[in-house]
Amino acid sequence: MIKAVMVMNTQGKTRLAKFYEYLPVEKQQELLRGVFAVLCSRAENVSNFIDAESIFGPDSRLVYKHFATLYFVFVFDSSENELAVLDLIQVFVETLDRCFKNVCELDVVFNYSKVHTILDEMIFGGQVVETSSSEIMKAVEEISKLEAASNAITLIPKSASGWRSR
């Protein structure tokens, strides 16, 4: 299963952190720092896999991918395949790109909850549920639409009922 998904920039600022097993905030920070320490000391053009047992305990692997100013990091156990997870990161980033049209770090920062929505459509309780970025997009768009609608609805009835009661 997937243990954690992290997005951090090249300065070590966390942009997104999602742990599928509960960890206290301090522990999360420690892990994020640990991961960044490893990532920033890595040379270019080396493999995307890191032995993460010293950070995350036994049976944990880490796969990361570097896009522009962001590191996308997935931590998982032996039930996943490293190369496949690398592609999962690809799917995630492709989806973000579709969603934000040329995604950049700021999009991730400011549309924090939307990134979470996308991730939730891909990974559910630590298991990969969807790997097609168009499917994910469809779901996310539907959610946005409904959310916007429900927002409008909740606003209108209030005023409407207020107006009616008047």
Partner: protein, 952 residues
């Protein structure tokens, strides 16, 4: 920019993010966040906050917590938001609670009800949000509250909901398997879902379920195989393609499941061969995901019942991985190789160069993976090179976690495969020197025992050589600063025990060093204690030898200091030392017999010296002791106890009363006699019983139990001491170590050791056969050194002495030479050997090895025989074998070049002497050892200059 996502963000939030982004230091960031927390605390508790505003506050809280600050003051507001009717607000609330809370948080109880309601919602997005929260927030106790709804959702019209419901159920299974054990049939039903996505999702729980219990799912093999077949044949809609691969993630999951199901099951495996073969054939190694599927196929092939054709395909795929430029693929290739060599070890030979490349790669991940592979393929033939490499790497890294791991692996390999005891000691020295504080203390004890016991088979002479070489190396090492405490303990012990034994070093030399150790470690009492005891031993041996003891001044001052030490242990040792020095020769000989660390201290298990006293007591009317085994009541009691344990789960109460019961039971039948105190209340009996136990032993009986106990302990010791392999062989050819330990147990433990080693013995017979056939039949000279290795592996533990007849018997009579080429890394010598003398008959080569007068040839062969140049050559020859041959030839021609010949010949000779003497001639190897140490390199690199040049 912010509005692009369609979510409303206020200026304040933008400012916050921006100012945090611009913060120069962590302190500045913290200040900003803290002030933000203050603001939020104030705002969030204001009455009548508009929902939209509230939503933003919560998101800001999430953001703050992601940065590592405490946002717990807002948790309750997040919980409240989940109750909201608006989807947007509700989803934000769920997002926040899943990030904030864990399943055991107090607030969960407030959410369960909402979740229950939302799971029944008409809006599938609400259901999805609730399911998401279920995964994260429901614990074992609350599972029953939501389980019915989740199960119902398995039949939901929306496939997204079905998928998530399956995942939620899977999550329940992970948290508490018993709570959903009755619902597993639902997974099977969903496996036949119309939607491939839902089917794919069920594979996740199936993977877990099958990993737990393979046999219950064997019936599904056919289904999985047919699903995989359909997927691979592109029967799914195009929508499931990813980078032109048909549903690769589903393929990967299926292959993982098949690997589990087919493991060790020939029948199940046979149904898989076709489809796995198809996937191999359809491989798309241009894309990353294609390689992921390919890798999974290799894993599957190496796990299921082996099939030659598939293994070939897998080997082929691995070689593509290893030849690739991508580090990722190399990594996967090394990993896959590690899996496949368990089934077909010979495949590693094809990839030696690639493996060596990976070992030299600057990429740490790849390096470690390669070390893992080497660890898996270590045998007695290549252990020296591999362990040397590991130690070099261990020295070069700072990561303590990995250092510990690699140190323990070195120790394990050295214990298991050590070719000679000198090598073992030197390896241990290195491990201790560089990772001493990280290794287990048991390792140190093992090392001491090895030095004390020796291997036994070469007689006392070899043992004492071993010891003096250890002493010499330790005296040398002591000059280095900052040795780890564990290592110092070993050094002190060995110096005390054997420091002056061979007369090479005078007592004052050794004691001086020991005093230095004690002074340098003034804060470490254990080391000090070791040092003092070592001093005592040395002085005792001096006295026993009839020499006059002159205490060095520094030693005297040390004693004075210790006599007044705060540590009672040190003080006692110091006083003992003082007392021993004052005694005469005979007394000292009794107290401290030289070289007696292996002698059994005879423990009188039966307390026979008390016999008279017991007799007296019995005559006076005391109860005779009845050994536990003969107490008739005991057996029944045991049964009782078992029944109790089975029948009632509250065993605690029974155990509390049990102890005294046997005493009562045993006494009643045996000694019904008089005794007014025979009240069946156990308590008063108990102390009496304990009192009597030591007083009335019947010698024959307890000694049985005693020796059994003793035996057990010894067996354990033998097992722990990682070379039980030696035991069987040595015990047949008079084992001193065994004998000295325990006569009776030796037989027993031998048998046990035989039993435990049996598989290995068989394997090595196979190897021998293989080796012999390769050697005789193969026209490819490449295989020649492999033969040598295989043979020497076969005889690996047959001790060096028996090496010669053994191998010659196995291979060929001409080859009766002890000039076995020393082991190579991964049999790496092979390609080199080919190129060395491609036209040469392998037999001749070996003869050449023998004949030192044929200088050039000897030089060549010796070069091949010595692994270091090989590795060197290989290191530089990262080209495929064909080209590599040329490189190698260059190196060799360089060696036989007249100007170099002399040197090469010399090294060859020295190497020959080394290889011929390996173990069997301890004197030579010791000399070589000393020489090597003088040159400051380890024995595996016989030619330091070459090493330096090539390694840089």
């Amino acid at each position: 920019m912010g509005s692009q996502g369609g979510f409303y963000q206020s200026k304040e939030f933008l400012d916050l993010v921006k100012s945090i982004g611009e913060a120069r230091s962590k302190a500045e960031e913290d200040r900003i966040v803290l002030s933000e927390i203050e603001t939020l605390k104030r705002r969030i508790s204001e009455p009548d906050i508009p929902k939209r505003k509230m939503k933003e506050y919560i998101l800001r809280l999430v953001y703050i917590e992601m940065l590592g600050h405490d946002a717990s003051f807002g948790y309750i507001h997040a919980v409240k938001m989940t109750h909201d009717d608006s989807l947007l607000v509700k989803r934000t609330g769920y997002l926040a609670v899943t990030l904030f809370l864990n399943e055991d948080h107090d607030l969960i109880i407030l959410i369960v009800n909402t979740i229950q309601k939302d799971l029944k919602s008409d809006n599938y997005l609400v259901v999805c949000a609730a399911l998401n929260a279920v995964c994260k927030l429901i614990n074992e106790e609350t599972i029953p509250a939501v389980l019915p709804q989740v199960v119902e959702l398995l039949g939901h019209p929306k496939e997204a909901v079905r998928k998530k419901a399956i995942m939620a159920l899977h999550r329940f299974y992970q948290k508490s398997p018993s709570s959903v054990s009755h619902l597993i049939s639902n997974f099977r039903k969903r496996l036949c879902d119309n939607d491939p996505g839902v089917m794919g999702a069920t594979l996740c729980p199936f993977f877990d379920l099958i990993a737990q219990d393979v046999n219950s799912y064997k019936d599904l093999v056919i289904s999985f195989v047919s699903i995989l077949k359909q997927v691979a044949e592109r029967r799914l809609s195009k929508a499931y393609d990813y980078h032109q691969m048909p549903a690769p993630f589903i393929q990967i999951k299926l292959l993982k499941i098949l690997a589990l199901l087919g493991s060790g099951d020939k029948q199940a495996s046979e149904t898989m061969y076709t489809v796995v073969g198809d996937i191999f054939r359809k491989r798309d190694s241009s894309s990353n995901i294609g390689n992921a599927v390919l890798y999974e196929c290799i894993c599957c092939v190496s796990s299921i019942y082996p099939n030659t054709k598939l293994l070939d395909s897998a080997a082929d795929a691995i070689s593509r991985f290893l030849k690739s430029d991508s580090h990722n693929l190399k990594y996967m290739g090394i990993d896959a190789l590690g899996r496949l060599i368990k089934i077909s070890p010979e495949i590693a030979e094809q990839h030696q160069l690639a493996v060596i490349d990976c070992l030299e790669d600057p990429n740490d991940t790849l390096k470690r993976k390669t070390f893992e592979l080497l660890y898996k393929m270590t045998k007695s033939t290549n252990v020296e090179v591999i362990v040397d490499r590991m130690i070099d790497y261990m020295i070069s890294i700072n990561d303590n976690h990995y250092k510990t791991e690699i140190a323990s692996r070195c120790v394990e390999l050295a214990e298991q495969f050590a070719p000679s005891n000198q090598w073992f000691i030197q390896t241990m020295n290195k491990v201790f020197e560089h990772a001493g504080d990280l290794v287990n203390i048991k390792v140190a004890h093992n090392l001491m025992r090895l030095i004390a016991e020796g291997f036994g088979e070469d007689g006392d002479n070899a043992d004492s050589k071993l010891r003096s070489s250890a002493v010499e190396s330790y005296l040398h090492i002591l000059g280095e600063p900052k040795l780890p405490s564990v290592f110092l303990q070993v050094i002190c012990w060995v110096l005390g025990e054997y420091g002056t034994a061979d007369g090479m070093f005078s007592a004052s030399d050794v004691t001086g060093k020991l005093c230095d150790v004690a002074e340098a470690c003034s804060s470490n009492e254990t080391v000090k204690a070791y040092a003092v005891t070592a001093l005592m031993k040395i002085y005792a041996f001096e006295i026993a030898a009839g020499r006059k003891v002159d205490m060095l001044p520094e030693c005297q001052s040390l004693m004075e200091e210790l006599l007044a030490s705060h540590s009672t242990d040190l003080q006692q040792r110091a006083y003992e030392l003082q007392a021993v020095i004052g005694l005469d020769v005979h007394a000292v000989e009794c107290i401290m017999p030289p070289d007696a660390s292996c002698e059994d201290i005879e423990v009188d298990q039966g307390f026979s010296f008390l016999d008279g006293y017991i007799q007296e007591a019995i005559e006076k009317g005391a109860q005779p002791y009845i050994p536990e085994s003969e107490r008739s009541g005991l057996l029944n009691m045991g049964k009782f106890r078992n029944q109790d344990h089975h029948e009632s789960s509250h065993g605690l109460r029974f155990e509390a009363y049990e102890l005294p019961m046997p005493a009562v039971q045993s006494r009643i039948p045996q000694a019904l006699i008089p005794s007014t105190e025979m009240v069946p209340v156990p308590e008063p009996m108990y102390p009496r019983e304990t009192d009597q136990t030591p007083v009335s032993p019947i010698p024959s009986n307890p000694s049985n139990a005693g020796s059994a106990e003793l035996k057990l302990r010894l067996d354990e010791v033998q097992q722990k001491w990682g070379r039980p392999t030696y035991t069987p062989e040595t015990s047949t050819s008079n084992s001193t170590s065994q004998k000295s330990v325990n006569g009776a147990s030796a037989v027993n433990s031998t048998r046990e050791a035989y039993a435990s080693r049996k598989p290995q013995v068989e394997i090595s017979h196979e190897k021998q056969k293989l080796a012999a056939s390769l050697f005789g039949g193969s026209s490819k000279p490449e295989k020649r050194p492999a033969t040598g290795h295989k043979v020497s592996k076969a005889s690996s533990h047959m001790v060096e002495k028996s090496h010669v007849p053994n191998s010659s018997m196995e291979v060929a009579p001409e080859k009766a030479a002890p000039a076995q080429p020393p082991p190579d890394l991964l049999d790496l010598g092979e390609p080199t050997a080919t190129s060395t003398a491609p036209s040469l008959d392998p037999f001749k080569q070996l003869e050449g090895l023998l004949d030192t007068t044929q200088d050039a040839l000897a030089a060549n062969s010796a070069t091949t025989a010595s692994r270091s140049p090989d590795v060197m050559a290989l290191l530089y020859a990262d080209t495929p074998i064909g080209i590599h041959n040329k490189d190698d030839a260059d190196l060799l021609s360089g060696l036989s070049n007249p100007s170099v010949t002399h040197m090469a010949g010399a090294t060859a000779r020295s190497r020959l002497s080394q290889s011929s003497s390996k173990g069997s001639n301890p004197k030579d190897s010791l000399e070589k050892d000393a020489l090597v140490r003088q040159m400051g390199v380890n024995p595996s690199s016989q030619n330091p200059n070459m090493f330096k040049d090539l390694l840089g």
